[in-house]
């Protein structure tokens, strides 16, 4: 049994717009080790949610996976027939949505929705399902008596716990959490993240945490994958990547967020400009138009992925000069003059 639960290689996901296909994910590759929390981070529109949804193979009507592999537990789920893929769903790959309010069916009780998964997908009997539901509620810290309540009767944080309970229901190998705490206030965010972390390590589940908030990644993840304009900019162990980022984008991103741990060592500096249009992406490095360190080469050639250390890689022509980039990149005026 390999250490790697999921290995995504050269994934391409496109949206049909008119007669054209616009690639929201254009050759993304990363690994998810077993029992790890992997943060998938980037600005909105970078393709992280598309990746997350591609992993479930439930994508928008006009979206399609045009290339690459997603090897999950030895099988390429990109190539799996729909029937077999459906067997994997929720049993092996579960999902925590951004807004539990909208993703819970308002007309059924929470118990019904748990039951639906446990019985239809997990094959449990009614009695087993009830016991499991109570167990799950206890696991996420909700009083089991509230099983009979409807979604709208829960607070935002509670609903997110319900969503976690739902995701855990069938003991999946992988949970994809798409911005699970974004809609919540900071204190609740922490509680939820703590809980997620605790349950994950307890149960040895792998988690892909999709977020735009690098501080969330820093707070909870083992590894991080930074995406930019449909490609992976940098990937690596959390500590190494956050403390020693090698891609100018990661550096910029780090500057743009307060540290969750409360140890902000400088001003918050936003990255000027906006991500490029995916209709006509820049020919070279996609970050080049906003990058303070961009060279002529960066604008023309697509950068290779350079392995910096064990499991740490970055797609930057200047990754060899990472120390310099970090030093310059931590100065505020570097980003203002760009």
């Amino acid at each position: 049994m390999s250490d790697i639960l999921l290995s995504v290689r050269d994934l391409e996901v496109g949206y049909k717009v008119g007669r054209r296909i616009i690639h929201a994910v254009d050759g993304a590759s990363f690994d998810v080790p077993r029992g790890a929390i992997v943060g998938l981070v980037g600005e909105s529109g970078c393709g992280k949610t598309t990746v997350a949804r591609a992993l479930t193979r439930v994508i928008a009507d006009n979206a399609l996976i045009t290339g690459g592999q997603m090897v999950f537990d030895g099988r390429d789920i990109a190539a799996l027939p729909e029937r077999e893929m459906n067997r994997l769903r929720w049993r092996d790959i579960a999902f925590i949505p951004q807004s539990a309010m909208n993703s819970l069916d308002p007309v059924y009780t929470v118990e019904y929705q748990l039951n639906e998964v446990l019985r239809r997908r997990g094959g449990l009997s009614a009695r087993q399902a009830r016991m499991r539901s109570e167990e799950l509620f206890e696991m996420v810290g909700i009083e089991p008596g509230r099983l009979r309540d409807f979604p709208h009767q829960f607070s935002g944080g509670m609903r997110q716990r319900v969503a976690i309970a739902l995701a855990l229901a069938l003991n999946p190998k992988l949970i994809i959490a798409d911005e699970p705490v974004t809609a919540l206030d900071v204190i609740v965010q922490r509680q939820i993240l703590d809980q997620l972390r605790e349950l994950q390590s307890q149960l040895g589940i792998s988690v892909i945490l999709v977020t735009h908030d690098i501080s969330v990644v820093a707070y909870v993840c083992d590894r991080v994958v930074v995406m930019y304009a449909g490609r992976v900019a940098e990937a690596g162990p959390m500590a190494a990547t956050i403390t020693r980022p090698a891609h100018p984008y990661t550096i910029g991103l780090r500057n743009a967020f307060p540290d969750l741990q409360g140890a902000a060592d400088g001003m918050l500096v936003p990255i000027e400009g906006a991500p490029p249009s995916l209709v006509e992406p820049p020919p070279g490095c996609r970050f080049a138009p906003r990058c303070p360190f961009a060279l002529e080469r960066c604008r023309l050639e697509v950068p290779e992925t350079h392995v910096l250390a064990d499991g740490h890689s970055a797609a930057c022509h200047r990754s060899g000069e990472a120390d310099m980039l970090r030093a310059e990149g931590s100065k505020t005026q570097t980003w203002l003059s760009a």
Binding site: L88, R91, P97, N102, P106, V107, R120, F150
Partner: protein, 325 residues
């Protein structure tokens, strides 16, 4: 506390509407030019006979007094006496109401079952050729005059094919015991078929279009996507989640449709010789039988008002977001 206040408000409002409708009715029938009983006073009557007749129906008193007597009688469920049939209006109306209700409900249930299923199907097959072709057809069924449709169906299925009888609720001279025996008999059902079908064809458009557009909205909701991610079967996703949610407003529209249908019955009952309230209203109006027309009108209005109320309640009942606060 808030709910109680809302409920009291709703009931007060209902009372106000009822009172207003009753008053409008009274004035409408009483302020008509000419003697209200003109059609029933035989010219050979002497003056005393005419006055006696007027007195019998309380028409000799001043208008305001008639109004209060009318209100007082209504409160006691007394609808007056029919000029034409010389019998209590309430009795006639109660005799005819079941026929009208069963026709209304049968046709609406057919219409709603079909409309909901077809609407869900069309939403599911959005953009397909079937959908493209079906929508204008559905719109066209709403554009047909009901009596025209009824006459055409009558010509085809009764006169031409001879599959169904041409009118009434039962074969001549058959006795099915009580109403339940009648309504469950094959004889009755074959008589019910054509009028119910006519009304159903006319009514299915509303639930169908409503269901379809709701489904399209609901299908975009996150919880439907989630249901797919959960690996639930297509059927479960479409039926248990999308359709169930889309059904909510459709169900409330059912109550409102009952009210509307009751009005539409007026025409279809005449086509199919159906002994119902609508036909009675038309007869009473043509025969200037004001108490009866007034009673039939009031009965229809009460059902309409009640159904509007039920629609509100039903919405609350079916949507847990309203019930479980």
């Amino acid at each position: 506390m808030f709910q109680l206040k809302a409920a009291v408000g709703r009931i007060l409002q209902l009372g106000l509407v009822l009172w207003a409708v009753v008053t409008i009715l009274f004035l409408m029938f009483r302020l008509m030019p000419g003697n209200p009983m003109a059609a029933y006073i035989d010219p050979t009557f002497t003056e005393e006979q005419q006055l006696a007749l007027m007195a019998q129906f309380g028409l000799d008193k001043p208008l305001w007094e008639q109004y209060f007597i009318y209100l007082a009688n209504l409160v006691q469920g007394e609808l007056g006496q029919s000029f034409r049939y010389r019998e209590p209006v309430a009795e006639r109306i109660l005799a005819l109401l079941p026929n009208t209700l069963i026709l209304t409900f049968t046709s609406l249930i057919i219409a709603y079952v079909f409309g909901v299923l077809a609407g869900a199907y069309l939403a599911w097959r959005r953009g397909s050729a079937v959908e493209q072709a079906a929508i204008p057809v559905v719109l066209t069924t709403r554009a047909m005059p009901e009596f025209w449709l009824g006459m055409v169906l009558l010509a085809i299925f009764s006169f031409w094919l001879g599959w169904f009888p041409a009118g009434g609720t039962r074969s001549a001279g058959t006795d099915h015991g009580n109403l339940l025996g009648l309504y469950t008999s094959a004889d009755f059902l074959s008589h019910l078929a054509l009028p119910a079908l006519t009304l159903a064809i006319y009514s299915q458009g509303l639930p169908l279009l409503l269901m379809r557009s709701n489904m399209l909205d609901v299908m975009k909701e996150d919880f439907v996507t989630m249901a797919r991610i959960k690996g639930l079967s297509n059927w479960t996703v479409v039926v248990r989640h999308a359709a169930r949610n889309a059904l909510l407003p459709v169900m409330t529209s059912f109550a409102i449709a009952v009210g509307y249908q009751l009005q539409g019955n007026v025409v279809v009952e005449s086509v199919f010789s159906w002994p119902g309230l609508g036909r009675e209203l038309v007869n009473a109006v043509s025969a200037s039988d004001y108490p009866l027309a007034q009673g039939a009108f009031l009965m229809i209005a009460i059902v309409v008002i009640l159904m509007n109320l039920i629609a509100d309640l039903l919405y609350a009942l079916l949507d847990p977001r309203v019930t479980h606060v």
